[in-house]
């Protein structure tokens, strides 16, 4: 069963957005890495690419459990595919996992969202995680007749994955850039408390869904390197 974030949950938890992550990292928390939970979070209407969700679920080969965001406990690995709006309940789940030393892969789906939804997406990323994003860039009008715009990942392993047409460049600032396409930074790694936040500006899930071997290799390597899970 897949449980989605409802509007009611959104409203009930709306106060959480106003509390930046770093304010809360100093509070006490219980480590959860021993629990080994791996989850793929379905944001329901706030996930802009369902094939991305399917891709991560397939790539985790049954190791990732389905997630009820309203009662989500901190996880060792939490993947949030193609996020557009990130409701407060999801922000709290992400934050809790990071505070507990988990790995969170937050994939932006803003390239396929309306301007209004992109604006909300941008605000949450900034307010909750201090991550700044730029406007989506369509790589293909410029690619006409030239090379395919591959996303080059440089950490934790080198991997080359097809672009997904529209990317959301990440502004320079917090974190380490770990992937670029056509010179644009499209993935970053950020230490948050005891955890690691990876933000993807180019959707990886559809490539996983289509069976891209290097995309799967990269995901496995990230999980292994960051969460110690193979």
């Amino acid at each position: 069963m897949t449980v989605r974030v409802t509007r009611r949950q959104f409203l009930e938890c709306s106060a959480a957005v106003a509390v930046p992550l770093r304010w809360r990292l100093g509070r006490g928390f219980s480590p959860v890495l021993g629990a080994k939970e791996q989850r793929v979070l379905d944001l329901g209407p706030h996930c802009s690419l369902r094939d991305s969700l399917a891709g991560y679920a397939a790539a985790m080969e049954g190791r990732a459990q389905e997630t009820d965001v309203s009662s989500l406990a901190p996880c060792a690995v939490l993947i949030v595919p193609a996020a557009v709006e990130i409701p407060p309940a999801a922000v709290r789940a992400i934050t809790a996992s990071l505070e507990a030393g988990g790995l969170v892969i937050l994939e932006s789906g803003a390239g396929f969202a309306s301007a209004r939804d992109r604006s909300r997406h941008r605000a949450v990323l900034h307010d909750a995680f201090q991550v700044r994003i730029e406007s989506p860039v369509d790589l293909w009008p410029e690619a006409n007749g030239s090379a395919i715009p591959y996303v080059d990942y440089s950490w934790p392993v080198a991997a080359k994955v097809r672009d997904f047409s529209r990317v959301v460049p990440l502004a320079r600032g917090a974190g380490e850039i770990i992937a670029r396409v056509n010179g644009l930074p499209v993935a970053l790694r950020l230490r948050c408390g005891r955890g690691t936040l990876i933000v993807l500006g180019s959707p990886l899930g559809p490539a996983l869904w289509a069976g891209d071997a290097q995309a799967r290799l990269w995901l496995r390597a990230v999980v292994k390197a960051t969460a110690g899970l193979g």
């Binding site: 395919i148 047409s165 869904w209 289509a210």
Partner: protein, 279 residues
């Protein structure tokens, strides 16, 4: 077998009624209606106007063989953008709705479009996923979806074995193949596609193909029946072997430069020869 031809073959500036009269006079049994191609049959055409089209067809002594569309070239089911995919699905749904209104039981769909930007594996996956629920919709309406083999243009499902696997992955009794015997070019042989996919064929488009010719200016790779490289005796024999007794639908790309109505008569006579096996 019965003969049909598309309304998109009507000479330019001809109206629907005039075209139907020509189709009947040339000896066809039915008409293929192309959603979105002709002014009288658009996505915005109301159900009442679709019923009026049916009455006009039946008044001309014809029936609607199937509903086709070229709209998926602009809005493919395999698009990366979910909003484009939703529109593509809506096009298929409208085809199904109108087919039911028109008394037809088959629609033609171009199921996926491989491009430089959207690679093959993505197109395959999305097309399979898109067709499953559409198959349910079609089944409820008593209609079958025929995915056309537009091999060269789609760059997708290039062999009969691959097409068979694709239909197996869709795994829906209401989804089959609308086989175009002219679209196979030099990738294979139409009669082998018929043999392998026989039970899954919903309709057959007929035209001939000049295998040695690529597209060049206004010179098409396609030509009129019996003028090209298709092995028509083998195609006819394969149709007999698999027990196909449905519609043959003429779809010519190259049009007569003069006397365009003559192409309807010539094509109908060639189809009669194919059906009769006098080859």
């Amino acid at each position: 077998m019965k003969k049909s031809i598309g309304d998109n073959m009507f000479p330019k500036d001809w109206g629907f009624a005039q075209g139907l009269e020509l189709v009947k006079r040339a000896g066809y049994d039915g008409i293929e209606l192309w959603l979105g191609d002709m002014p009288w049959f658009q996505m915005s055409t109301s159900d009442a106007d679709v019923r009026a089209l049916r009455r006009a067809v039946e008044s001309a002594g014809l029936v609607v063989s199937n509903v086709s569309t070229g709209l998926h070239w602009r809005s493919p089911l395999s698009a990366r953008d979910p909003t484009v995919r939703a529109h593509a699905a809506r096009i298929v749904e409208r085809q199904i709705e109108t087919a039911a209104l028109l008394g037809a039981d088959a629609v033609l769909v171009v199921a996926g479009l491989v491009t430089e930007e959207v690679p093959y594996n993505e197109v395959y996956q999305r097309s399979v996923e898109a067709l499953k629920p559409l198959g349910d919709t079609a089944k409820q309406a008593g209609v079958r979806i025929g995915c056309e083999n537009c091999n060269a243009e789609q760059r997708f499902l290039m062999s009969p074995r691959e097409f068979w696997q694709f239909l197996g992955d869709v795994n829906h009794p209401a989804v089959g193949i609308h086989l175009d015997v002219g679209n196979i070019h030099d990738n294979g042989f139409a009669e082998q596609w018929i043999e392998m996919l026989g039970s899954r064929i919903t309709r057959i488009h007929v035209k001939d193909v000049l295998k040695h010719r690529g597209r060049c200016g206004d010179q098409s790779v396609y030509t009129n029946l019996l003028l090209g490289d298709n092995n028509w005796p083998a195609i006819r024999a394969a149709l007999t072997k698999v027990g196909y007794d449905g519609w043959l639908v003429a779809e010519m790309e190259a049009r007569y430069r003069y006397a365009p109505d003559q192409q309807f008569f010539d094509t109908a006579q060639a189809m009669d020869r194919v059906i009769a096996g006098r080859l």
